[in-house]
Point group: D2
Chain length 148, copies 4
């Protein structure tokens, strides 16, 4: 983290992408709410789904894959199985071979449960060396970018 | 297992309850498909959701809870994130304090991915001694029962 | 399940392989004990570790991999984070391309928490067609086999 | 995050607490290495084990529990099942009712895989209102504190 990254806003209107996640029995931990580590699993799920369906990411055969380089989450309220989560996502920073996604999660009552961010570095699958983001993937990420 | 339990049918019409599950990034394992252990997490999720929403199960405060006593799964085909699972459930056996659920999972093309079963023993939360299934919970389970 | 499979014994001396597992925070579910689905994750972990370290399984590059075809678990007592699990394993049946492992888990007091079994079918990674078990892998599995 | 928090050092000697974690089959994701979200599960596991064993935390019955308020991880290298992780932990900041742990994970070759931090707010279990950290818990956290 060369320069500090601000937490993204707890405001659905700030995000161009929205999806809904379902909670599972095992998400709840011994304290009765969704465990903090699962929030990162939600981030992974939301991000990769968009990359696969709209950016051409092929997680099985593709020559370029996205690896997580840094992640962060600020927890603002509980989530509970059974139920759903409204997940919002945008691109906060887009570099040559890396991208920082910004995400916000809301409970079914519209309360913000968490905001966070997640950095992907795109690399060649074989060598794990950084690979430039090009073509449909760059177009997708540009379309999700929010300009300050 | 006092007497062998047959695998449930790979036929959606055999089940009175249906729901849809979403897959997550982390469900896929190193071989590229949903890991076998996750199927049991799906069973848990499907079963408890019905018990909570329609049978009055209170997983945080309730005096009676359902503990898994035995489970089984026959794997018939892969499941893959990103995607969904059509999950079907019925009650195969209903005793005084225990119930055996039967489940079947289908991929988005309608291929059966797995059939399995899962036994809950209802117990007093405080003592973990078996507790008779009564009231709305028994009515729910009776309504999901399939008579041979 | 063409013929019923008996539950394996809750007796450590019946198993040629032993290892110890560590529990994690997230293993405990809302009822305060290790969730039932995690037991299958333990089975997967114990089995594949032996196959990799002693049978030559290469989960990243190998041409032959083992897929779970069927699994079963009988739950006999709770497990709790923080703590460890003593895991025991043997081969109950060894066919041309499939193997049924039998496992037992014990808590730190020596109480049996679960017994179960898990069937691997070995397949060609590329085609997912059954592949004969040969060489060091067959030798390993033979060495873990228990003759009735 | 009122003020930016620096990433902790990738140096084992900077941490007063050390433990070793085991990896599991399911930790590896489709790219063949431990999934990023699992690292937070490792943090949870390392932190709570110390709190339970040395600080008197009672996760089942205790009146005061620690909830995750913010977490962060910088990924520096892969981890792989089967194998172990050397985990290091210290207290970076200790407030009246909150604590920021700093952690570092190393692979079996001594390469640093990740550094991160994790904030617990201690709350009354019943009300989820902040609770002052006192007694053996404060003594423990003080003993793990590193003064700049």
């Amino acid at each position: 983290m060369d320069e500090p990254v601000a937490n993204p806003p707890a405001d659905p209107s700030a995000y161009p992408h929205r999806t809904q996640l379902q909670l599972r029995w095992k998400d709840n931990d011994v304290y009765g709410h969704v465990n903090n580590a699962e929030y990162y699993s939600f981030f992974d799920t939301v991000i990769n789904e968009v990359l696969i369906e709209r950016g051409g990411l092929d997680i099985i055969e593709g020559e370029v894959i996205g690896l997580c380089a840094e992640s962060h989450c600020l927890y603002l309220g509980p989530l509970d199985y059974p139920g759903t989560v409204d997940a919002y996502m945008r691109v906060g920073h887009l570099g040559s071979s890396s991208v920082r996604y910004e995400l916000a999660l809301f409970d079914p009552d519209g309360q913000c449960s968490a905001v966070g961010w997640f950095v992907h570095v795109f690399v060649a699958r074989a060598t794990r060396r950084p690979a430039e983001i090009t073509g449909p993937m760059r177009e997708l990420l540009e379309s999700l970018r929010v300009l300050a």
